[in-house]
Symmetry: C2
Subunit: 559 residues, 2 copies
């Protein structure tokens, strides 16, 4: 019996082409590709600007049912579908998020697809890559240092040191930095105050970089960041600290999309990676927009399940970046649907058509939801070796009854060949031009009503509830002129409700809003329902303990 190869083994056997060659296929001249090694490159801003008059390709979003511990394989399917489209002769680019470095040292595992549907060089992508996250960390912490420096030298702006909301960041799982007291040690070190660190992906700078549509827009957004308040409660912005210019300088290369390739040598942008809870969880607008100019089809993904990821993709990213999605692919797996149907993790290998059918309520609701945004849908059944034909058929039959088509996809084992049927259908849907995309709420709607619209239309909750202080905060943001911003929901990804244990398609629930935060630079209002962790910790035995270079100089223990 053949041994199943690990992701890293497959990735290492990849026959990568020089990145300049991948770029050439897209019509990018050598001087506009800034290489980082021989298999990674950034695309120059000048070249991107020069594309503005070209017609946009078709935009395909890959999203998923609510995630379960069984795994759905959204990134893997995004890569597989991209390879499949290229395989059937459609000029296609893939747009993915960049993984974060810190978590690699906690739990084993990368974020560059899997099996024969991966982007490479996977080790580089998962570690320092082209330095984007380091640049974001530097820019973020420069602002932090300038804030404390301002206070140290006299605090001319009158910042209330108890009300500084701008923290520091590090791309590391380090719970010891969540809450600190800084500026200890005497007069030379400033005024002691409470502070803390988040992981870099949770930085507002990350969200800003991913939504900015130009270097000017980046600087404008950075200037708008609210870093804290004065004793009279007036806001202090990053531009008041005079930090926006220097921060933009630190980010000027990070703003450029990163080009890599799939195992089948198809082009992929991997750029930006904002949190999918307190931020919108999609790759950069710069990359997606550039991709649409360079290819006829762009396949991209959004974080978590469609209730969170697709909703934010539509209502935040597409709204703000002027994108018009043509097709949405919802990824489901037999295993995950079984879990939504009530099966425990240990019993997933046994055939259980009834449980699949029961769990399909989850998929069905996501299909209904995406329809509300006016975007045509296809379903990808990401195949696992233990899936039976009867189980797969239950899904495709269900899809057909609901007016969409579902396809068994074997890209994990077969690469692009395994998504050919899906690819043909998706291309046909996109080419038909039937998408009538629109966000689910208008800019002008009051903030409270925007949240209620999402909760009712997408989560199928009866209502939203919040303390008076939270409701007052919504009104205060509207009074300050932030009422036109979209909403960025932060809730559990495991359920339509705020209870992670409510699988399937729960109804009759209520969404309690615990907290609301302003991301004035990212230009959205974060609505927090439940516990949101912005600085992870390491597990008892972190994978870092077994990571190292082997005798051949290759990385061991990381994947």
């Amino acid at each position: 019996m053949a041994t199943v190869k690990s992701d890293i083994e497959i990735a290492r056997e990849a026959k990568m082409k020089p990145i300049l060659e991948i770029g050439k296929k897209l019509g990018i001249p050598t001087e506009d590709l800034i290489p980082y090694g021989h298999t990674k490159a950034k695309l120059s801003l000048d070249f991107i600007s020069g594309l503005s008059k070209k017609k946009d390709g078709k935009l395909i979003l890959v999203t998923a049912i609510n995630p379960t511990p069984a795994g759905e394989g959204k990134t893997t399917t995004t890569v597989g579908l991209g390879d499949g489209l290229n395989r059937i002769g459609k000029k296609t680019m893939i747009c993915l998020r960049e993984p974060s470095l810190g978590p690699c040292f906690g739990m084993k595992g990368g974020a560059a697809g899997g099996g024969y549907a991966q982007i490479v060089p996977m080790e580089d992508i998962n570690l320092h890559f082209t330095g984007d996250f380091h640049a974001i960390t530097s820019a973020h912490n420069l602002l932090s240092a300038m804030i404390d420096n301002h206070i140290y030298w006299g605090n001319e702006l009158g910042l209330d040191t108890r009300r500084i909301s701008w923290r520091r960041v590090m791309d590391m799982n380090d719970r010891a930095l969540r809450d600190i007291v800084c500026s200890l040690g005497g007069v030379a070190n400033g005024f002691p105050r409470e502070a803390g660190f988040d992981i870099t992906v949770a930085s507002e700078i990350m969200a800003i970089l991913c939504l900015a549509t130009s270097i000017e827009d980046l600087e404008r957004r950075i200037g708008q960041i609210v870093i804290g308040h004065k004793r009279d409660k007036g806001q202090v912005l990053a531009k008041d600290i005079k930090a926006a210019g220097a921060m933009t300088v630190l980010l000027k290369d990070a703003l450029l999309p990163n080009l890599v390739q799939t195992l089948e040598n198809n082009p992929a942008f991997v750029h930006g990676g904002p949190f999918a809870n307190i931020a919108h969880g999609c790759n950069s607008a710069m990359a997606t927009k550039a991709g649409l100019k360079l290819a006829d089809y762009v396949v991209t993904e959004a974080g978590f399940g469609a209730d969170l990821g697709a909703e934010k993709f539509f209502d935040i990213k597409c709204r703000k970046a002027g994108l018009h999605p043509d097709v949405t692919v919802i990824v489901a797996t037999v295993r995950a649907l079984k879990m939504h149907g009530g099966v425990g993790k240990d019993d997933l290998k046994k055939e259980n058509v009834e449980a699949v059918k029961k769990g399909l309520a989850n998929l069905g609701r996501h299909i209904e939801n995406v329809k509300k945004f006016g975007v045509p849908i296809a379903v990808a059944v990401n195949h696992f070796v233990t899936d039976t034909d009867a189980e797969v058929k239950a899904i495709t039959d269900f899809c057909h009854e609901h007016g969409v088509e579902g396809f068994k996809c074997t890209h994990w084992a077969d690469g692009g060949k395994g998504t050919e049927a899906l690819a043909k259908h998706v291309a046909a849907l996109a080419d038909k031009g039937s998408s009538q995309f629109h966000p689910i709420y208008d800019d002008a709607m009051p903030l409270w009503d925007k949240v209620k619209t999402i909760a009712r239309e997408i989560y199928r909750a009866d209502d939203i509830v919040a303390d008076k202080s939270v409701r007052d905060q919504f009104k205060a943001y509207e009074a300050q002129g932030y009422g036109k911003f979209p909403i960025c929901m932060a809730k559990t990804q495991y359920s339509f409700s705020t209870d992670p244990n409510l699988k399937g398609a729960p109804t009759n629930h209520v969404v309690p809003i615990r907290e609301v935060r302003l991301s004035a630079g990212a230009e959205f209002i974060v609505v927090i329902c439940g516990d949101i962790m912005t600085m992870p910790g390491l597990p008892k035995v972190p994978s870092a303990e077994t990571i190292g270079l082997d005798a051949k100089g290759q990385i061991a223990g990381l994947f």
Copy 2:
């Protein structure tokens, strides 16, 4: 009258060659140069290993008199001499340190030479460059996170949380992080304890990276780091925390030398940048050793004046990396010598031959000192427009009387053409092979005696003094097996003594040792005399406030 161009204007007018072309001149195949953009590249480890049987070129150290606010131009002279040697037909490489990103946002100014003796691309080199410092920051902070994680999950090693000496680092001037209390906020965040941040260049990882001679040596040294002590005062090492492998993975690219070019398209390695006080202050051993295989001459520099920089270059870097310097060039300026001769900063423009002559005592002593290491000497008089011929002649006459030759060098205005005379002399000295280099103390000498040797022979102090606790610490290190390590002196760079105001060539002083620290991974003992700042702050009006991108998208306000 012609306007004098600024460094950045000159750098922007540079006609840079593709870095692959620069590499080709050195015989480096394309696949062994890992490009970072079109004008920066890293050299592969495989290629470096393959050079081991080649004959070494000649090694030329550029050092200086004690620095003054007037400036000496050591980096500028290193670049100018490298260009001059290439100009007279000598195949020469330059090896410099990488500048730190953080300080760029405090005071205006870069660290890539000046005038027509610069390395380019200067903006990249001064900012993120190839990400080496970010990798060092990540590796350092991974160890920090793993230490607090170990304590959180039960502290099996029995670390005393009051005795953790491993801090965190950030490449930013941020005084608020010098002293913090971390792990606040309750049970989920660990056990509150005192902690703090240093700037990345002060990280022991930086010193280790610069002294490591292979990836295996890097990992071995990291494992040796002492991160703290147990309640029974036993040491805890990085390898006890099982961090060395993962840290080495994070540093595997940072270990590779970075290739750039001078304005005259000559090759330069810019790699590593350890502090010149608590560390040894030279570029990486990897780069210097690779340079010696690739070129017939390597010009490199050491931090601060020759009393600190050259001494550590000889006694730490050359000793440990097995280097044999052939010539030492001591840089002096008329202006700086005037300051050593008692002239104030405001009166430097007036001709004052007597002051120059008086200040020459400082140069004279450095000449005597370098002779003690057995290395032939030349003097570079780095020319300023206000210098008079009589002043320059006073220096060259003095040199001649002391058995060495001094040369007026106009590389700042003229590039390599301005150092031709110096270059010819230096090449001749090197080719003669008369260097009889040896460190100034033996490995076997007791630690206290090593310090006394440096203080007497180099600083010309009568003695060294220290509290009993410090003297006991020396003995404790010897008992622990660290007695064979060299000494890394941390004292003011402005004087031979520990009093920064004692210019010229002071005698009859005593060197008080305030503190002694072990850098077990870097393999030296740091002896601290005076205040050493390992985390700078920003000034009242940081240059960050005026840094930004101009209408052309070019960086303004940085230089």
